[in-house]
């Protein structure tokens, strides 16, 4: 949270413009097809790479249901950049998208060569992919492999794509029920 606020202040002082709005900050001169890695957040807001931990927790959402918190980091050096992140969970057996969300988020390099969400985030700082309950599944989402796809856009143009196989994972019985075909 403090990181987010600090980045916002720095960028505001620079007088930049967010692609999503006239007054919002950005130093996004990102173009092309950048390397990208998919990240996720757990219920505490801790961000990790799916490459390191493919078991991605299903989070009990404040509005009900269960969501995956999915984002991306791209190989770039930026102080702060407002991008659109589009994240989808796809059933590899049917190719159907079970859940998809697109939202504006801010990415920054945080002293590394990768620009992404800060190490600790709030729910609004990353895509909330609603996957449970779902009327479109034939097998449980919990503990089964699914494909996650992420696209990062700047000013309506894609700058990065990434795909990975993850295993959405419940940590309680209610989640397991909500994420089963009968949970709908």
């Amino acid at each position: 949270m403090l990181l987010t606020r600090a980045a916002c202040i720095v960028v505001l002082a620079g007088g930049c413009v967010w692609p999503g709005g006239d007054d919002a900050p950005s130093d996004c001169d990102l173009t092309g097809d950048l390397d990208a890695e998919i990240v996720f957040a757990d219920q505490l807001g801790t961000v990790a790479r799916v490459a390191d931990q493919p078991n991605v927790p299903l989070i009990s959402a404040p509005q009900g249901g269960h969501i995956l918190l999915i984002g991306a980091r791209v190989r770039a050096t930026v102080t702060s950049c407002s991008v659109e992140v589009n994240a989808a969970l796809r059933d590899p057996a049917t190719s159907r998208v079970i859940g998809l969300e697109q939202r504006p988020v801010t990415i920054a390099s945080h002293g590394t060569e990768w620009a992404g969400p800060p190490p600790m985030i709030g729910l609004s700082d990353i895509a909330n992919v609603a996957v449970c309950p779902s009327a479109a599944i034939s097998t449980s989402i919990d503990a089964h492999p699914y494909q996650v796809e992420v696209r990062v856009d700047v000013a309506g143009l894609a700058i990065a794509h990434a795909t990975a196989t993850i295993t959405p994972t419940c940590n309680d019985t209610y989640c397991h029920m909500d994420c089963s075909p009968a949970g709908n």
Binding site: S95, P104, L123, A130, A136, R151
Partner: protein
């Protein structure tokens, strides 16, 4: 209250403004269907009320198949929704006080004294039956004749919740009093197809001073099968600028083209309720929807908005929530047939 309303009407010009006329719905006999009437209630200046009324579908005559729905609201309502009660979490009909709903006995949980009536997680698995956001002075009644051969089922003995939200503040005004009514007309012509509903909401939205024009988009997948959308409406608050819904092929991760769009509304207070749709969704497929926002300075300043920001960003961010004045929504209501056989369609 009625006498007070009459005095106010007279003071406003002896009733020369028809907008002050209260709505009237016919009271249905059991053979004709089911009528629900909330009591009239005050909505004080600066107040936002939400009440959750519970009642049971009469058990005597079997399931009630309904092919016409009339929903009525006094001016000033933000919404009324009717849900089927399923899992009871913290919002419990048994905790409500007894209320007469126009001859139907029920209970009411007042949001003013029980915050559970405001918390959507409490009805997260309660399927939507119908909704209205229409309370303009000249259009207080939403009268919906379902398509030929289509009816919605009210199961005998099941508990329903009628939720009513009123605002008398800056964004919306309730000039006299709040009141809601619903008529569910019994189908008598042997409709063979059941109406289904899709209810979806965007999670953890955020409309901030530093990012004043965000757009949030999502999808909601239907199970395999042929489904036709017959009605739809979107719901957000006063920062909402454009609400769009498209039919979606269920596999693409890019927004469908304009030709696939079947709903487009720029009116947040009285959003269009499209009742004349006949949109066949791809099989398998679903919907894609988006909400465009424009941040604006709260009339009462940012303190109340900042206070409810879970991230405490001090950026005057409207975040997800039911209060019109201080929070935002991005909810979609879609009505389709035939109803899926394996439950309900909810995405949140």
């Amino acid at each position: 209250m009625r006498s007070l309303m009459l005095v106010m009407i007279l003071a406003a010009g002896c009733g020369d403004d028809s907008s002050t006329d209260p709505w009237i719905l016919p009271d249905l006999t059991p053979a004709e269907g089911l009528s629900i009437r909330t009591p009239e209630f005050d909505v004080a200046q600066g107040e936002e009320l939400q009440d959750c009324y519970f009642f049971t579908v009469p058990a005597g005559g079997g399931d009630l198949m309904v092919d016409r729905i009339s929903l009525a609201l006094n001016t000033g309502s933000h919404h009324m929704n009717v849900f089927r009660v399923k899992t009871i979490k913290a919002l419990d009909p048994a905790h409500g006080e007894a209320v007469d709903l126009g001859g139907v006995q029920g209970t009411v949980v007042h949001g003013a004294t029980d915050l559970e009536c405001w918390k959507s997680a409490n009805w997260s698995d309660w399927p939507l039956i119908t909704n209205s956001q229409q309370s303009a002075a000249t259009e207080q009644i939403l009268d919906w004749n379902l398509p030929h051969d289509v009816a919605t089922r009210l199961t005998a003995g099941e508990t329903l919740m009628l939720q009513v939200h009123y605002v008398n503040a800056t964004d919306q005004v309730t000039p006299f009093a709040g009141r809601a009514g619903a008529n569910f007309y019994r189908s008598t012509d042997g409709d063979t197809q059941e109406l289904g509903t899709l209810f979806a909401t965007q999670q953890s939205i955020r409309v901030c001073r530093s990012n004043p024009k965000p757009t949030y988009s999502g999808t909601c997948a239907m199970p395999a099968g042929d489904h036709t959308v017959v009605a739809a409406n979107g719901h957000f608050h006063s920062r909402g600028r454009r609400f769009q819904i498209w039919s979606w092929d269920g596999v693409s991760t890019t927004r469908p083209g304009d030709q696939e769009r079947f709903y487009d509304s720029t009116d947040w207070a009285e959003p269009d309720m499209k009742l004349d749709l006949a949109t066949s969704l791809p099989n398998p497929g679903g919907i894609w929807w988006s909400c465009d926002y424009q941040w604006s300075e709260p009339a009462e300043g940012c303190a109340a908005v900042d206070e409810r920001d879970p991230q405490h960003a001090n950026d005057c961010c409207y975040t997800f929530g039911p209060k019109v004045e201080t929070s935002e929504h991005c909810n979609v209501f879609v009505y389709y047939y035939p109803k899926i056989t394996n439950g309900n369609v909810t995405c949140f």
